[in-house]
């Protein structure tokens, strides 16, 4: 019997882990550049919390179960309930606006399709306690800054923007209060009939939405206005969004959204906190990874070591360890094989590790406190004193 990962879950071998860390590195850098502080919460939460935020639509897709203490619990499918709970608990003490980010792994039990896993890593960036449109522009700029750090510019991606609150009001006046949620969900999924779409969307006028103008102006200040496209079909699937909403797509629209966000000014209150404006976005690693791969923007994996230290014969194992110790203390990533290795094989290994140098520890040089150093790029070889390595 052989064991496998559960369907929809990924094993991160070193190559996949390097890609994940490359993406996460850009996320951390962009968030920190804009003064966001990192947080995290439990992967497991009470089902009540998740239900309070997202309603039953998400609950159906949760990994939910009853724990040994008879609590109804579930793996997190979003971070926002957790972050909302954390904000609500310290709402008075925290300096506003609160600027937080996180990179949690999230879980959904859904039918599997290409690119649809049951887990993914998602970057969450949120601001609590800011009503100003400058905050909306800032979270968007942070999302785009991370993409820029990964090599994706306005030639590769665009932002489709709209205003869920205005659209909801429009649906209310045309179709009545009861039609709002189902109609917005149909818009989000692209399921409107042509007649409905024409009625609701065609005459939906960007100029009638002052927040969109203000967002555009703030984005100009931040140098990201060229990414923006007004698109009334963007309403975000989840019912808790209240204001400006946006999604980032690849320019060719071959993939699902790379990221999505907006305002959800009533959420904290719904999670038993005070009334507090809130906004933010999520960006997953799966679609983004596919896009980077399709555009040839994934860098080669980082080298595993800088220096391979090779003992020539059994007696040189201990000296090789001493050399390794010295190199590591000097800040180099270095290793030696645990058993003697043929020199030819050692050079092959060094190349495959991406090492820059090979240090050969042989008995003759060692007696004089020296080792042979070979630079793998220049192919130059020299005999060096161990003390001066």
């Amino acid at each position: 019997m052989s064991f496998q990962a559960l369907p929809g879950f990924r094993d991160f071998y070193p190559e996949e882990m390097a890609i994940r860390r490359h993406i996460e590195g850009a996320w951390h850098a962009a968030a920190k550049a804009a003064g966001f502080e990192e947080v995290d919460g439990p992967p497991l939460e009470s089902l009540d919390l998740l239900r309070a935020k997202s309603g039953d639509a998400i609950v159906e897709e949760l990994y939910a179960f009853t724990d040994k203490g008879d609590r109804e619990v579930a793996l997190r499918a979003e971070l926002t309930p957790t972050v909302g709970r954390m904000i609500a608990a310290r709402a008075q003490a925290l300096r506003k606006p609160v600027k937080w980010y996180a990179t949690p792994q999230l879980f959904r039990y859904q039918r599997q399709q290409r690119g649809r896993l049951r887990e993914h890593i998602q970057w969450n960036v949120d601001i609590f306690g800011a009503t100003e449109v400058g905050a909306d522009a800032e979270v968007l700029s942070v999302a785009l800054d991370a993409l820029r750090r990964l090599g994706l510019t306005e030639n590769d991606v665009k932002v489709r923007v709209s205003h869920r609150g205005v659209m909801a009001e429009r649906v209310r006046t045309r179709l009545g209060e009861d039609a709002i949620e189902s109609t917005l969900r149909a818009i989000d999924k692209g399921e409107l009939s042509p007649a409905q779409a024409a009625e609701l969307l065609v005459a939906f006028d960007v100029d009638a939405i002052p927040e969109l103008d203000a967002l555009h102006a703030a984005c100009e200040d931040l140098g990201i206005d060229k990414y923006l496209e007004f698109d009334p079909r963007i309403v975000r699937g989840l019912a808790y969004y209240t204001g400006l909403v946006w999604e980032i797509f690849d320019r060719k629209e071959k993939l699902r959204a790379v990221a999505g966000g907006g305002r959800y000014d009533t959420l904290i209150e719904r999670l038993s906190g005070p009334s507090m404006p809130a906004l933010g976005f999520g960006m997953g690693d799966v679609v983004l990874g596919e896009l980077l791969k399709a555009l040839g923007k994934l860098p080669p994996g980082p080298p595993r070591i800088d220096v391979l230290v090779v003992p020539i014969g059994d007696e040189m194992l201990a000296p090789a360890r001493q050399v390794v110790r010295r190199l590591r203390l000097a800040g180099e990533r270095a290793e030696a094989p645990y058993a003697p290795m043929k020199v030819g094989k050692a050079f092959q290994a060094a190349e495959s590790f991406g090492a820059r140098r090979v240090v050969l520890v042989g008995p003759d040089e060692w007696r004089e406190g020296k080792v042979k150093v070979k630079d793998l790029a220049s192919r130059e070889e020299s005999v060096r004193e161990v003390e001066k390595l």
Copy 2:
């Protein structure tokens, strides 16, 4: 109704997250310095896999449940089953020795005590495919290197070492085959009667164990021999260890073990892989965090930003955003408030963020393409051209 984290689970607010990242940073640095590659696997695994490795003792403490596809699954309580499964699946293709590390979050449903949570972050470092004692010394040196990077030296911690295989053999000859597992567990938990302990431990002679000598010599090469203490009470609780075993403790032995590891040469085979020697260790964030705190080795949190940009009046909001954009592109962590802020309050905020400079964007200077810059350490103020910021 207000929501809370489940009992035994931690919320990581920015201060706690900074400590976690400080610890994890040392783990990453030490592993990479020694040529270990990072991996990760799913937090959720099939119950069969966890049972195959650890037996029923751990299964009782698992967060186990049946998923919507009728699979018996559980949250990981250790990473080793996952890593073993990944190794077994690619045993032929991977270059030996395989040197892997990971920093997963792990989960156990256990009765709560002080410092005993239901989740923790654990650094795992493993080598597969090396029989040599140099590999045992290397993983230990990596563990100690991380502690050194966190400010803990041989004055603060020690390594208690023994050999589970030799001890098991000793129990077999004195008490019989059937007594091995229960006796080793009793030794691990310190539950032996004085008579039993005297019989088994007192005459347990370090000189009779050649691997311990060899380990000591290799540790001398790596400069970590001063940490070592032979201690026959160290056998590791889990049945799959086969050879050298060790645990790291604070010198005063006030806390539980900071880390523990050893050889488990039969594990990969048990997970349906080929026969392959293996060894490694785990180091958790909880006891280590307590020790760092007790010794005053936790650094202050990192500054949130480098520069606070302050708009003087509503009209300067847009210019402030443009200044922020310029600073961020130059690699500085910078932010501006979304609404105008009184100058006194702005300086307070800048101090609390750990910022080094405040940039005041006022209408008079801005008209001339200039801003006021104040250095918070030297208290020097200057008027600078925006172009040259």
